[in-house]
Subunit: 121 residues, 2 copies
């Protein structure tokens, strides 16, 4: 079929790793990535770009050095470039990241949680 919808639930069914974003689409030089997360991520920032988090299922805390925001399903947040943040999810959370192609999940920080980039599902 020439034209096919990108279905988030179907894409999420194809992987289970946490903190391992999978690209589902590109718009110009931006990528849409789905990711399952649970527990604590690492403090990091992206010095060159804003980054969008959209929660699809579950609950996500984004901690900042001076506060935090909690997102549920149907909520989004734009993390401004250069702002240190640490995602946290008590229970598994399914979310979408939107950011320029080439952005690494841990920014300039190297960590066991640094994921391979540009992996499609």
């Amino acid at each position: 079929m020439k034209y096919s919808a990108i279905n988030f639930a179907e894409k999420f069914s194809k992987f289970n790793e946490h903190w391992s974003p999978r690209v589902v689409a590109e718009m110009n030089d931006y990528q849409f990535k789905l990711v399952k997360i649970q527990g604590d991520f690492v403090w990091h920032d992206h010095s060159d770009t804003d980054e969008v988090f959209v929660v699809i299922e579950g609950e996500l805390d984004i901690e900042f050095r001076d506060g935090k925001v909690t997102l549920g399903a149907g909520e989004m947040y734009v993390i401004p470039k250069g702002i240190e943040h640490k995602p946290f999810a008590k229970n598994e959370c399914k979310m979408m990241l939107i950011e320029p192609r080439g952005v690494v999940n841990t920014g300039d920080v190297s960590s066991d949680l640094t994921a391979q980039n540009d992996v499609w599902v």
Copy 2:
């Protein structure tokens, strides 16, 4: 509160016009817009940019000159730049558009459905 989630349902409760996108966030030079649609839109394209449609509630058809795709809640589609398309929703559909700041809803086509740009909610 310094950090606040952007809640789609709360934003949708603030307007009822169809085909009138409201900006809810910016990421670099891109905008996230919520829009309620019903019925037929006009054939148009965006010669300079891809455009993303994400359905939040309801069902959206995107017709192309040689086919169509139907999106339900939790589905998205990237319309490539320069490709003529015509959105259609039999019943009211709530969706999110993601595209560069400055993109007009009817592209290069002037229509009664051409909406004022850069209106925030």
